[in-house]
């Protein structure tokens, strides 16, 4: 956990309000693990008051990248930042994805929906380094909602694409595409990692559970502090035979599928 002023070294705007910001932050980059996040102060003013949490999208030698959408006041301000400006960031925070040594040489599936793809690129890179083979299932609402598709292509990752409207790839949720592929049985994954909208993750959890495939999920929440002090970002997590409100920032944001109590679908 470090607090470092970090210079913006790159800024890319994508369709559908996505922005990629590259930050020079050597100490944080060195410590970062896939699935961990940063708390970013978007300005020096009391409004917006709180830092904003972003998972680490990519890591370079002395750099990290964040991927986000202009969704509210904080992200809109952040999106206007330019190269050369400095951001006050805390990180790396939380517990990221884990990968056992026994996964070496095996295939794992990464399922990302919308901006939930953000931490999975860093994860895919790290898995490769460890000689674990990732296959990526990447879903968006439309073809514009897949801002880093090219990046995966360029790095020659195995990729399955879905869109809700069918404008690119499979028509439907990434979890539905995953289901089709699992039924087809071509890939026998040793592990599944997912991040995205709640219904997608819940569906992935059910698919993984039914096949006895261990799975990990990166959860999202509004956060007060990011360091476990305010207890504002809780989620129902199984502990023993009971559920407990666990802090996403400290015990997560990545949890095992078997730990998470999924919220009932509200119709």
């Amino acid at each position: 956990m470090l607090r470092d002023p970090s210079a913006i070294i790159s800024r890319k705007e994508k369709r559908d309000n996505y922005v990629l910001l590259g930050l020079r932050t050597p100490r944080i980059a060195r410590q970062a693990q896939p699935g961990q996040f940063l708390m970013v102060k978007v300005n020096d003013q009391p409004y917006p008051l709180l830092r904003r949490p972003f998972s680490i999208h990519e890591r370079g030698k002395d750099t990290v990248e964040i991927l986000f959408t202009k969704a509210g006041t904080g992200t809109a301000i952040l999106a206007e930042k330019n190269e050369g400006e400095t951001l006050d960031i805390l990180g790396p925070l939380g517990k990221g994805f884990t990968f056992k040594k026994s996964l070496k040489g095996r295939t794992v599936l990464l399922v990302g929906g919308g901006r939930g793809i953000a931490p999975l690129y860093f994860l895919a890179q790290e898995l490769r380094v460890r000689r674990i083979r990732p296959i990526i299932f990447y879903g968006g609402r439309t073809s514009a909602d897949l801002p880093i598709l090219e990046k995966f292509h360029k790095q020659r990752f195995d990729l399955f694409v879905s869109t809700d409207d069918g404008s690119l790839g499979f028509k439907g949720l990434a979890s539905a595409l995953l289901q089709a592929e699992l039924i087809r049985g071509r890939s026998r994954p040793a592990h599944i990692y997912a991040c995205g909208p709640e219904p997608m993750m819940r569906a992935v959890a059910a698919l993984a559970d039914a096949r006895g495939i261990p799975a990990q999920f990166s959860l999202e929440s509004i956060m007060g502090c990011g360091i476990g002090a305010c207890w504002g970002c809780v989620r129902r997590i199984r502990k023993g035979d009971q559920g407990e409100w666990a802090k996403i920032c400290e015990e997560g944001p990545v949890f095992r599928g078997s730990e998470i109590v999924w919220e009932e679908e509200v119709s």
Binding site: L49, I227, A229, C233, R235
Partner: protein, 307 residues
């Protein structure tokens, strides 16, 4: 360059503090969360998260909503209880020299007394802060601090139970905070701290639902500072015991405002969530203020509002 270092010590009567900056309960966890970012020994005091006798589940999420320069929370005092606190947390704070103040909670007056009774034997604890003012644990924000009689009887019981000084933390959600402060003082409270959060509501216009699962929450942050200052001023004028002021302090100058209106010390709250090292920065800024204004002792500032 040879300006002498200003004396930042301040006196609560029962406790002399290294400087007037404490942390507000609920914004600093159990203290250890901040050890990676600051030297805990630099603080005037640490007020740990409110403790009940037993572990407490807290409220369902969402528990946070941001407002203009403010934060609305309904954590509901989720916590580990006194036993785990003594076994798991206190030993880790053993080397910390900063006075440790435990924020005491209870569903009933008896539970407050039981928490105090359990913690009385812990040498590390310098004082208790009675949390009679959390708006998030009872229906519609009810708490003892909304009523003079409930305040008086609870403080009296706590004083009888306690082998440590007792600070009573007041709610701002009352018509006349002075009468509550006087009730706490009359019941023997050794100091008064104020204010807890302001009962508040945030609405999502798309869903037309409250943003918090608990519907109401408590507002803190810079948005409440002028309201808090007014109340601290009123209370400090009315009571003889020391007053600890809080409400939206983000900078050293904010802290000095509370001292000027009569607080002997301050608690920094929401700022800790934004900047884990806010307290240490604020202490430095108070020192800068003293230097710039040729103030040798920060205590010279207390209660000096010209009106």
């Amino acid at each position: 360059m040879s300006v002498p270092k200003p004396d930042l010590t301040t006196d609560l009567g029962f406790l002399r503090l290294r400087n007037p900056v404490l942390v507000a309960s609920g914004t600093f966890g159990y203290g250890l969360e901040f050890a990676p970012f600051i030297n805990l020994n630099k603080l005037g005091g640490i007020v740990v998260k409110g403790l009940y006798l037993h572990p407490r589940p807290g409220n369902p999420p969402p528990r946070l909503a941001e407002s203009a320069s403010g934060l609305i929370n309904s954590i509901g005092l989720q916590g580990i209880g006194v036993k785990a606190f003594c076994e798991k947390i206190l030993p880790q704070l053993e080397k910390t020299k900063t006075p440790l103040i435990v924020n005491v909670c209870g569903e009933t007056d008896e539970e407050y007394a039981a928490v105090i009774d359990f913690l009385n034997t812990q040498e590390q604890i310098a004082a208790f802060e009675l949390n009679i003012s959390c708006p998030n644990v009872k229906k519609d924000g009810f708490c003892p601090a909304l009523d003079t009689e409930a305040t008086f009887s609870l403080v009296q019981l706590a004083k009888r139970s306690s082998r440590r000084p007792v600070i009573t933390k007041l709610s701002p959600n009352v018509t006349d905070i002075v009468e509550i402060a006087l009730a706490a003082e009359e019941a023997g409270s050794d100091a008064i701290s104020l204010v807890n959060t302001f009962l508040a509501l945030a609405v999502d216009v798309e869903t037309r639902r409250p943003k918090l699962a608990n519907v109401f929450g408590g507002l803190s942050g810079p948005a409440v500072k002028p309201l808090a200052l007014r109340m601290v001023y009123q209370v400090a004028k009315a009571v003889k015991v020391p007053v600890i002021g809080m409400g939206g302090i983000m900078t050293g100058r904010d802290a000095v405002e509370f001292l000027i209106v009569g607080a002997s010390a301050v608690e920094v709250g929401t700022a800790n969530l934004v900047d884990p090292d806010a307290t240490v920065r604020i202490i430095g800024e108070i020192e800068d203020y003293c230097r710039a204004n040729k103030i040798k002792k920060v205590e010279e500032v207390i209660g000096t509002l010209q009106s």
